[in-house]
Amino acid sequence: MAYSVKVLDHYENPRNVGSFAKDDEGVATGMVGAPACGDVMKLQIKVGKGGVIEDAKFKTYGCGSAIASSSLVTEWVKGKTIEQALDIKNTQIADELALPPVKIHCSILAEDAIKAAVADYRKRHGEAAAG
């Protein structure tokens, strides 16, 4: 199957690969996995004052589309509040990367990774962040 130009770009030059120390101030981690293809994705966000995501990093073991989807969302979530980040839908990711139907689950994985990271943030910093 041929990858789109945008998938190839993210696959060959993935943005924001790596990790934050998971206990650092404002850092939250979302771990998700897709049993169907055995892909594992870790998305970390670093949330600053006012609930704005200042930085994001990812580590994905999976196919090119999964890597591209997670690379893309690290770019998209930066500068957004955690509420705005939750508005990112898998269909937007799939559209942006021109993913074929069989790779839609990669974009679902990336959307779920954002949700998992935000849930982790709220669990860790819940009240403090709201105040």
Binding site: M31, V32, G33, P35
Partner: protein, 190 residues
Amino acid sequence: MPVAPASRLMSGREPLDLSTDFFSLFALPRSFRLAAAQLDRAYVELQASVHPDRFAAADDSARRLAMQWSTRVNEAYQTLKKPLARAKYLLHLAAHDVADENNTLMPADFLIEQLEWREAVAEARAAGDHHELEHMHHRLQRELSSRYDELGDLFDERQDFVEAADRVRRLMFIEKLLADLDEAMAACDA
């Protein structure tokens, strides 16, 4: 699928029904634990009786039917032979969705462990450390075999399909990891 031509084709056997499940096809009990030798024997016998070569001189419809049967028997064998495919098939027969396409929220500790495994494989591969890869391969084989033992209990003794589906989802990651390891070892050998 018409049964009559199939029974004629099977010459003297019980008439076969294409809608029958794979276990019935081989006259095996529907269980996760299965005697590999028994499956192999049943497969060889059945495949011999439906092999398209035996129908080279037969008419078109008999040949086509033999081809369908042969394909079906192969599919059944491949499904039952591999433990993960067999487990997924048992869940399918029990009408229990394994949700492998949309269930992304595996327990975090399990996913972290998987991520660490993948990192270790990538590191050993980059370093060309065949010894370390082999070591990981042994560990993983042991883990797989104990997980499949557990799956046998869940299916055959406890009939706990919910827990079985959870173990199957985990095993899908571990089998993928094993495939990665095999690939890494082959790359080191090259």
